[in-house]
């Protein structure tokens, strides 16, 4: 992994992200989003964080992308014909985004650190023990959050079904 490989990867990710945001057909934009996820996983591998890369692929590509696709199906968004997919004031968004990019880029150029050798990268076992030692509180909080989110999502969905049953004679 060296600079040119990273530059190539960055180009792939940025172009996929641009596609994901501008494509008219939502299914295609979700597919390019998946390319973005896989690209970020590759960046994590480059940054010596293989566990995070695997988790990223497992959760984002394995679950969130499919969730988005399912939602697209349920919403029966008219995927076929080209509906106007961009709000009227898209140029305002564009200016704001590019302004933000300029500021961030300026900040980014200031920082330049030599990368430490890949030798002392802590392995997955250290990550595991840390997760359940220093980080045990956030770990439990995360589990609570996930259950709450699950119950919340189901509560929203179920409520609809009762409604539709009542309305249907």
């Amino acid at each position: 992994m060296n600079q040119w490989l990273f530059v190539l990867l960055a180009l792939v990710i940025v172009s996929a992200a641009v596609l994901a945001v501008t494509l008219r057909n939502l299914i295609h934009s979700v597919l390019s989003l998946i390319v973005v996820f896989l690209g970020t996983a590759a960046v994590y591998v480059g940054l010596e964080a293989p566990f995070i890369a695997a988790v990223q692929v497992l959760i984002y590509v394995g679950a969130i992308a499919i969730l988005l696709l399912f939602a697209l199906m349920l919403v029966r968004a008219k995927m076929g014909q080209p509906t106007p997919h961009v709000t009227g004031s898209w140029w305002l968004g564009f200016i704001l985004a590019s302004a933000l990019f300029v500021i961030l880029a300026a900040a980014a150029f200031g920082i330049d650190r030599p990368a430490p050798p890949a030798a002392d990268v802590p392995d997955v076992a250290a990550l595991g023990t840390d997760l359940l030692r220093q980080w045990v509180m956030p770990f439990e909080a995360a589990s609570l959050l996930l259950t709450a989110a699950m119950i919340g999502a189901i509560a929203v969905a179920i409520e609809l079904r009762r409604q539709s049953r009542r309305s249907a004679p």
Partner: protein
């Protein structure tokens, strides 16, 4: 020099040759940044990849032949024996047929997604073989996140199934696609938890470490109570994940024509066919590594042991296909959410508990707890089916 490190010796010899012979030869031509070490690393990588890409498709081709022969014999009839000596050329005949068939893309379907789906299903299924230890030193990439890498990549195929189902613009394949995705997503959780049980006891995600931890004949995890239950859950989830045997709902021939790959023909259908067998074979390899002690075995060299164990597991998959009728969708979902998942969670709990107990009493406690939960979990499931049948009889 047992058979095991013959392979390692060959590889080292080849890599050494790459450095001594190849590098001086190509030196003037090569750009500056290719140093001998990089060439050696590249050569060893190429050797592993080529060996996998040769062995696994070959094994897979004759897996299809074996499946038709075995399932045929189970139904009191010969398997294919027309083409070649015992039908041995049948896979080649199938391959030629796949290649020569015309490639049809549904008219109003989404061309790009339709073409991408087979790629997106075949690539992860092949990538997964990098992590499977075929023998002592015979592993392509000994990642320290081996099992997680395997599970992450096998979850990507769910996406490809959805894309195939949607892009064919045909009601039945779309239904098949949605069913397949729902099934694969809900069966992935018991699969992951069953793998976590073993990883938790071994303390490392790397497949090589897992196999090392199963030393001795009774060291295999299958002989532990939690190991046996985790294996049974893994087996059930594996058949569902590969859309095989009792759970082959997505491509249920009777109702959904051919499920998500109805609109595919020629080589694209061939790729789906390949991917299905590759993923079934890969999961059998993983089950053999996780529960049956990979290449550990008394007499024969390591790689023979792992192939033997995998073929036994594959035979069990054929047996499933020869015996069980297809399950209904609600039974399919009920089975995983009401039976497999709670059982998997209890297995994790028992595995953790018995870690701190001395071996023998631990074994007993584990066995008692798990069989207890098995029977307790069975009650709600059995009563539900009985009740529904009873009320149907009344009205």
């Amino acid at each position: 020099m047992s058979m095991d490190n013959v392979w390692i010796a060959i590889k080292q010899a080849a890599v050494g040759a790459a450095r001594d012979v190849l590098y001086p030869l190509l030196d003037p031509v090569l750009p500056a940044w290719i140093t001998p070490e990089r060439l050696m690393m590249f050569a060893s990588a190429v050797i592993s990849v080529v060996s996998i890409l040769v062995i696994v498709p070959l094994v897979m081709m004759y897996l299809t032949w074996a499946e038709r022969k075995v399932v045929g014999r189970m139904q009191n009839r010969f398997g294919p024996n027309r083409v070649g000596w015992f039908g041995l050329l049948q896979p080649i005949a199938d391959a030629v047929k796949m290649l020569t068939k015309e490639d049809i893309v549904p008219a109003r379907g989404d061309r790009f997604v339709h073409l991408m789906a087979p790629v997106l299903i075949l690539v992860p299924t092949l990538l997964v073989y990098a992590v499977i230890p075929f023998g002592e030193g015979m592993i392509a990439a000994d990642l320290d996140i081996g099992v997680l890498y395997f599970l992450a990549l096998s979850s990507v195929t769910t996406l490809a199934v959805f894309m195939a189902g949607w892009a064919s613009r045909n009601k039945y394949s779309f239904l098949g696609g949605m069913r397949a995705v729902a099934q694969m997503v809900s069966y992935e959780i018991p699969l992951v938890i069953a793998a976590v049980v073993v990883v938790m006891r071994v303390g490392s995600l790397s497949t090589v470490a897992i196999v090392e931890a199963q030393a001795g004949l009774f060291g295999w995890f299958v002989f532990q109570p939690w190991g046996l239950f985790a294996f049974l859950i893994f087996l059930a989830a594996m058949t569902a994940e590969a859309n095989r045997s009792p759970f082959d709902l997505p491509e249920g021939e009777s109702e959904l024509v051919a499920g998500f790959h109805t609109e595919y023909s020629g080589m694209k259908f061939g790729m789906f066919y390949l991917a299905e067998y590759f993923s079934a074979l890969a999961q059998c390899f993983l089950a053999a590594t996780l529960f049956f002690g990979g290449w550990k075995g008394p007499l024969l060299p390591g790689w023979i042991w792992i192939f033997l164990k995998t073929f036994v597991l594959v035979f069990v998959l054929f047996l499933f296909r020869g015996t069980f009728p297809r399950v209904r969708v609600d039974q399919l979902m009920g089975f995983t959410w009401k039976f497999l998942l709670p059982l998997a969670l209890t297995t994790v709990f028992v595995a953790g508990l018995t870690y701190y107990l001395p071996p023998v009493p631990g074994w007993i406690v584990g066995a008692v707890l798990l069989t207890g939960t098995f029977f307790v979990l069975m009650l709600p499931n059995r009563r539900v089916t009985l009740v529904r049948r009873a009320c149907r009889l009344e009205n």
